[in-house]
């Protein structure tokens, strides 16, 4: 108990660690929010202005355009003008484009973009329907008299959309950030183990020659690192939920459980790096940070969601041994899927990795002996 208290005090005094493991993710999360706040809207339709120039009368097409511009299915606002005026409007970019309608339809636009595509699709649709009707009239003129033509519906909607919610892809960035910050906990355990190692710090030297149990002091150290780090992760989570309004679904309990597992893997991974390498504390931390960054990159942070998808569909093994990816995927499955199967499979992999790492690092730790320092 006594030792635990001092361990906390020592750890909380290292401001740099707190910066990297807490303030930095908080900053990143805020940047994400700022950058992505408008992203989803860019996928959506917005109505725009067009003009209609009548070269000769084409009642059918005019009806279609009127239909598309009424309030119920508003695609665009239409102005009925002459050609010169339309040209002028287009030049001043007051409209996205205009139709010149005669027997054929001409589309005039400034540049190729979404609104152009819509205008073109409507015109194409008209031309294609005309062509179909003409062909039927040539090949089977009788259908126009025997009533079959009445049964034809060229505008039938063949599709029924399955309602799918929670398709906001930007949440992935926040999820990877949580994954990354869980794993960053390793920097805490590197600090702890460095304190315990004879060749890295004075305390370590003293500890090595003292008759106390090394295992006990290490476990106490790692435990306090875990507690501090877990609290940090929760602060990050709360900040995301309440300040940034990131959508996490409704299962907060599972998220907290996941974060605990994530912090555990982070702490053990840091411990492993610390035990395998025999360099100074700073270089251990920088190597560890690079590892975390690579893992996060593979999980879709830094705009690399394509890579994440590629890995999980083509190389699932790599996805399943990457703790950052496991945490991201578990959060994603809580947000997107109704069942918990995928969450639990990620969770079990995560715990498994933590245990394997612990065993390996125990193996390395036992071999540490110093002839002299």
């Amino acid at each position: 108990m006594h030792e635990l208290k001092y361990q906390f005090k020592i750890l909380l005094r290292s401001k740099m660690l707190i910066f990297w493991s807490m303030i930095f993710p908080l900053c990143l999360a805020s940047f994400f929010k700022l950058a992505f706040s408008d992203l989803l809207n860019s996928e959506k339709f917005e109505s725009f202005n067009i003009a209609y120039v009548e070269a000769s009368n084409n009642e059918t097409f005019k009806n279609i355009i009127t239909y598309m511009s009424d309030d119920d299915n508003k695609l665009f606002d239409v102005k009925y003008v002459d050609e010169n005026e339309a040209k002028e409007l287009l030049k001043e970019e007051k409209i996205k484009g205009y139709y010149v309608v005669g027997d054929n339809i001409d589309v005039y636009i400034n540049q190729e973009d979404i609104s152009e595509t819509i205008m073109q699709t409507i015109a194409n649709n008209f031309e294609q329907t005309t062509s179909t009707m003409k062909r039927i009239y040539q090949d089977k003129p009788e259908v126009f008299y025997n009533g079959i033509i009445e049964q034809i519906d060229l505008q039938r909607d063949n599709f029924k959309e399955e309602k799918i919610n929670n398709l906001d892809m930007t949440v992935i960035y926040f999820y990877t950030l949580i994954g990354m910050s869980c794993i960053t906990g390793g920097t805490w355990s590197i600090t702890v183990t460095s304190q315990k190692e004879g060749n890295l710090s004075r305390q370590g030297t003293r500890l090595c020659v003292s008759p106390t149990s090394k295992l006990k002091s290490l476990i106490v150290g790692l435990f306090s690192a875990f507690v501090i780090h877990y609290v940090e992760c929760m602060i990050l989570l709360l900040y995301m939920i309440f300040v940034l309004n990131v959508n996490f679904g409704n299962q907060v309990g599972y998220i907290l459980l996941l974060e605990a597992a994530g912090s555990f893997v982070g702490i053990t991974l840091g411990n492993l790096v610390s035990n395998v390498l025999s360099s100074s504390k700073d270089s251990k931390i920088s190597i560890f940070t690079s590892i975390t960054l690579v893992l996060s990159f593979l999980s879709g942070m830094m705009g690399s969601t394509d890579i994440k998808y590629l890995i999980s569909s083509k190389l699932p093994i790599l996805a399943n041994i990457n703790p950052v990816n496991l945490i991201t995927d578990a959060l994603y499955s809580l947000y997107y899927f109704d069942t918990l199967d995928r969450y639990f499979s990620n969770f079990i992999y995560l715990i498994g990795i933590g245990l394997i790492i612990s065993v390996i690092s125990l193996f390395f730790m036992r071999r540490k002996q110093y002839d002299n320092i």
């Binding site: 740099m16 700022l34 398709l167």
Partner: protein
Amino acid sequence: MIIFKNYLKVAKSMMGLLILYTGIFLAITVININVNSQNTTLDIDDIKVAVVNHDDSSIIKDFISYIKKETNYVTLDENEDNLKDALFYRKVDYIMIIPKNYTNDVLSNQDVHIKTMQVPDSYMATYSKELMNKYINTAITYQKVGIKESKINEYVKDDLSNQANVHIIKKTIDPKYNASKYYFSFSNYSFLAIIITIISMVITSFNEEKIKNRTMISPISYQQMNRSILLGNVTVSVIVWMVYMIFAFIFYPTVMTTFTGCLYMLNSFIFVLFALMLAFLLSRLTNKRELISGVSNVIALGSSFIAGAFVPQEMLASSVIMIAKFTPSYWFIKNNELIGNLTKYTNNNLQPIFINMLVMLLFIIIVYIIINIISRLKLKR
């Protein structure tokens, strides 16, 4: 010279950093080249469609071969998780699940539908729906009026090949220019991160108490020392800048050998100067290495996010853009955008580009003034 040489020696020890950042940068650039090489316009071959088929009528068979040929067809396993994953990561815009006997049921006027999965209200999905409906409706119409099954596919294809005439008034931009734009805007991150870290780290190592005292008693004058360090700063920045320009030439040779390329280079050079000044300022403010690496990361990432290096400026909220205007990154990235969109090198087109460069220079001057004030204050103490 001794100090300059020493400077480079210390800087050389940080080569790993340059390689790491450049490596990540290049990896992302390569991904971006693949993603952004498409035009901004939508065509049938841009939409990503997947089909799960349970109907074996010839109309649907022809329909699927039409999709495979015309659209960007995505093969997916029929597995709920798989389909939903692909949709979430926007690997597919439109998933159609065609039920058994669909064609026959429609022909007998039953109320049946093809189930689809899509991003609600997205224009990609709306566009796909439009095109897919067109094919199916036309084919079924032909079947209804009694046209021979073997002819249907040919007729439908012929109908669908009818296109309205499109006239584009303004000239559009070569997609290569578009991709180069992203390359330069993205370099905002690497320039800031690399230059600030290397330069301020080197300067701090010269500023360490013992080393500083040693140089102070040496016969090298204060001015000489400062000049050498400045020379070192400039050398490092120019080297970093050149590395990125060389890669730009490798990736976009056609763009870089035009006047547009020169503008890109000038623009990024001014930005590199700013990064250098900022690094200098940071090293004046603090001597703690860890603090510097933290601050440089926050600055590099933060400006990249809010000024549009990672997410294009037109997709940012207007409030974010307002904040971003207080960073030179905004003007740098905006300029890359303007340069990439240049079609003619007229005065009218070039003027805003040069004005933005002036704004960046203004930032450099401001930072320079701040550095001077701080140095004064420090000397007084």
